[in-house]
Amino acid sequence: MNEALFDAKLKQAFLQAAEAEFAAPLAAPAAEPAWSLPYRRRREKMLEDPNRWYHKQARPVWKKMLQQAACLLLAASVTFGALLAASPTVRAAVRSWLREFTGTAVVYRGEDAPKPVATLPEEAPAPKPHPAEEKTETPDARPTEQPDAPQSSAEAAQTAEAGQTIAEPAADETTVRVFSGENDSLDIPVTNSAAQVAAAPAWLPTWLPDGWKLKQFSHNARCVYTDQYGGTLEFTCSQSAQDSLIIAGLTEDKLQRVTVNGVGADYYESDGCTYLFWEDMDSFFSLQSGSYGSLDQANLIKIAQSVKELDAVPAYTLNWTPTGSRMVNRCEVPAGGMKEFVDGDNWYFWFTYAADSAGELYAQGSTPTRVTVGDCEGVYWAAPKKRDATYGGAVTVICDDGSEETRHLASGGQVSTLIWTNKAGVTFSIRGAFDKETLISMAGSVAAAT
């Protein structure tokens, strides 16, 4: 047998081996996966013009960055100075996102969008006077409640009820105020030492109304916040000219022009939800508030005006989880990350971490108690109820071999939470239908990813 003939047989054998290895998922019923919105947008662009999409994707990163920098320099030299001279209160965004109304939805597209649409107007209404002062959260802004009795002798040393005085924060320390879903609160001191931060920027709100907490990061760099009543707020930041955002139900008659930091912005109210879209020199932002009560225009604008570029934090991993657990989703952004797991009985649990300037992390459970996580102080909220599949929700997903799998979402009363902050100023949260020992064991295994 000559070499060419053998190589041809070898190729056939590799192809058959590949098909045999994945025979089950290939033969499974063709159920549509729950594609994410960013994936669907990319797919739409790919199917519309595969060659163009390929060329854009295949460009080396350095070329993309060079092109973006060149665009910025050129646009700034031609238009920016002139605009500032003509209207000093209006900052012209160098990269304008384009807005188009389709009749049933609004589409915001980056500048590389193929279809010509109307641009966001550069003129803005006369800016409203800002509030006299920003409301700032201070450790003394709200009363501190005493924690409940500890569960172990080690924890007893941490509580005020044990008779020890909790040391006042030193000059270079700040205090983190953490809240539970039932408005219990506890102050724990955080050492605000210099963190090892990555170079990547991260844009996030730095002010939120009382009661709002950071719940999760999602795959498209979206941050989701929630309050004690179940309200939701989603924040997105895009720095890619290829991105687009489509919101159904927002029509031109619902558009109100407002300003954010002196720049024209779009505000909408629709079906009990509120929306704000704005941009600056580098990014396009959105806030969407809804579900059981939305934030009003004034609050959305205040949140938008607090958006800042935060220092990045390292990625962290959970190195120990209960037997049978597996990770099913993850999202890491410069300012934090979230990993979603199911345990051996297919109950969801979540590991979240964020720079402490990104906001307070969401907790579920009742009556916070102090605990120790390694050499850090933490807070534990116990679930009032044991987990029970009779309550809560369930989702059906396509699992590894193409079969369907039911996963359980514990109801609020079945979820415990552990939150702590390390010496680098990163706050962590583990939420799930577990007992305290399990949460602390997982917390003890957290380490920076290598």
Partner: protein, 174 residues
């Protein structure tokens, strides 16, 4: 670098859409088997379509019943690339145990399939890149982090091991 037009005309685009519609969900399920993450599986599927467009001239010449295996290898490769970012590098297995034949009456190709399925994944990966996707040694070296001479040695050794096994079992005739 001259960027060639991957899909040269509307007919190519029509064929690509047919392939996409037929295999998108399947590629996702395979990526999920490997990555166990919806987000990473989406990334792997997207990377796979990049590969398909890049090599479409070759792909559209494949018989339809061969196309499936080819796409499986592409999405496997894309998934492995993503997986490598998550895991530490394991040592490369220089040898492995060849399994005994499942049946005394199997033909040469089927016997090859048996051996390949028992092959350590790292070995299988570079041989798939070479013999199925027809990457050059330089391209394989870039993807795997090995140097080109190591790639060449391992491809040659893997191929020789397969030939020796087949010869010893009476399949490979000179």
């Amino acid at each position: 670098m001259l960027l060639l037009t991957m899909l040269e005309n509307e007919e190519d685009k029509r064929k690509f859409l047919i392939v996409h519609r037929a295999y998108e969900n399947k590629l996702y399920r395979i990526a999920m088997c490997i990555l166990h993450s919806h987000a990473l599986a989406e990334d792997a599927v997207q990377q796979s379509w990049l590969q398909v467009i890049q090599h479409f001239e070759k792909i559209q010449q494949l018989p339809w019943d061969t196309l499936e295996g080819y796409l499986v290898v592409i999405v496997k490769n894309a998934s492995r690339t993503l997986l490598k970012k998550e895991k530490h590098a394991d040592p490369f297995p220089e040898n492995w145990d060849v399994p005994a034949p499942q049946s005394a009456e199997t033909d040469e190709t089927k016997r090859l399939v048996e051996i390949i399925r028992a092959m350590p994944e790292k070995y299988r990966e570079i041989l798939e890149l070479r013999f199925v996707l027809e990457y050059s040694q330089q391209e394989i070296a870039q993807r795997t982090g090995m140097n080109p001479s190591t790639v060449s040695t391992r491809i040659s050794r893997g191929r020789q091991l397969l030939i020796q096994t087949l010869r010893a079992e009476g399949y490979y005739n000179e």
